[in-house]
Symmetry: C2
Subunit: 220 residues, 2 copies
């Protein structure tokens, strides 16, 4: 089956969400690792819980709330300026080193991001990483106000890119996203980064690779 | 405002989900604490993810899947018989020591459980803990096939007990459940057990107590 579009998750897949760890450690010495881990876990939990409660809030707000939770979980009282500083670090997350080359290799097909992130959060990160010219579209769930893995999120791809689901290669390092995209009908490549473990949700990815540059061998 | 019904979450609120830790440790020496923690975290995640994906599976199945994930996360290969043994331990979870007395004290109002658990999972636990005669109803989301904190789950209470939301005292130790019930319109008491931290989801409980026996002072 021909591949008309390759669609990437952003956070954890193209961008290293752990890259804020160093700045977190600087502000909260001895707590950087724990805060960063809880921050990410709660960020995802809050997207799921808000979707289930029909209480949408854009990803930038959810990310801020999750950071407040994570700092408090270490027994610390976050100051507004510390939160502001770390949130601005989120606007310039480091892209994984092979991201640009992988996107360049896939030229000739539509290349897009499908992200939970609202545009004020994702656009600066894409620009800071210099990925604008190797992407054809940035699709965000912010336009429909419900988060992945709801099927409506994945439908943004077929609607906006005008492609059939089975001709999309969807790429994510996040197990819940791999499962949601697979169940929607995409062919999915799981980027299995260190420590990755697939969820037990009755769906397995079509492909498992370790780096983004391996994707080229999966498209014809 | 008069209280017509007091409605309890089951797992973590009336029943101690950590009580399976000892049996887990016996089967997987050195891993009991880690497996039990991951088991519970994934159990909840899977309820949220399945609800968002419109892929409902009863709580007993989700609990089993989460246990498989948790064992694998320690680098171990679970055997079917080990899973079966630990799942049957879930049918006789220990009730918190003050649970029965607290329910007795609240006689005269409707006393019910609203749980994610399907009846094959929750009924044996209620029976094993000897709580049948101090409960008027067990309501389960299994009848509507979507998990808490979706508003439809909380609507089971008003529909089945025939009470107004504002005349319900809802009791849970789980922050996400406290938030969901508060946003639905219940008056909520958060049982803040050791290590409990409220989520940053723009809703706070009306009451925070440490034990179930404190509830009596909250009803008139």
């Amino acid at each position: 089956m021909q591949t008309d579009a390759v669609v990437f998750d952003a956070y954890g897949t193209l961008f290293d969400v752990r890259s804020v760890q160093q700045e977190t450690e600087q502000r909260f010495p001895g707590h950087g690792d724990a805060i960063t881990g809880t921050w990410r876990r709660k960020q995802l939990e809050y997207t799921w819980l808000r979707s289930l409660m029909n209480r949408y809030k854009p990803f930038s707000g959810v990310t801020r709330d999750a950071l407040v939770y994570a700092i408090k979980s270490r027994g610390l009282a976050p100051e507004e300026s510390q939160i502001d500083d770390l949130m601005s670090a989120y606007l310039r997350l480091t892209a994984f080193p092979e991201a640009r080359q992988a996107l360049e290799q896939l030229a000739g097909r539509q290349r897009a991001i499908l992200t939970n992130g609202d545009l004020p959060l994702i656009e600066p990160a894409v620009k800071a990483a210099g990925l604008n010219d190797v992407l054809d579209a940035i699709l965000t769930v912010d336009t429909i106000r419900i988060y992945k893995p709801n099927p409506q999120a994945y439908a943004l791809v077929t609607e906006h890119l005008g492609v059939d689901a089975q001709r999309v290669l969807f790429v994510s390092s996040n197990p819940f996203d791999v499962v949601g995209a697979t169940q929607f009908g995409f062919r999915v490549a799981w980027i299995k980064r260190a420590g990755g473990q697939m969820d037990e949700l009755d769906a397995k990815p079509a492909h498992t690779v370790e780096t983004l540059t391996e994707l080229l061998s999966l498209v014809d």
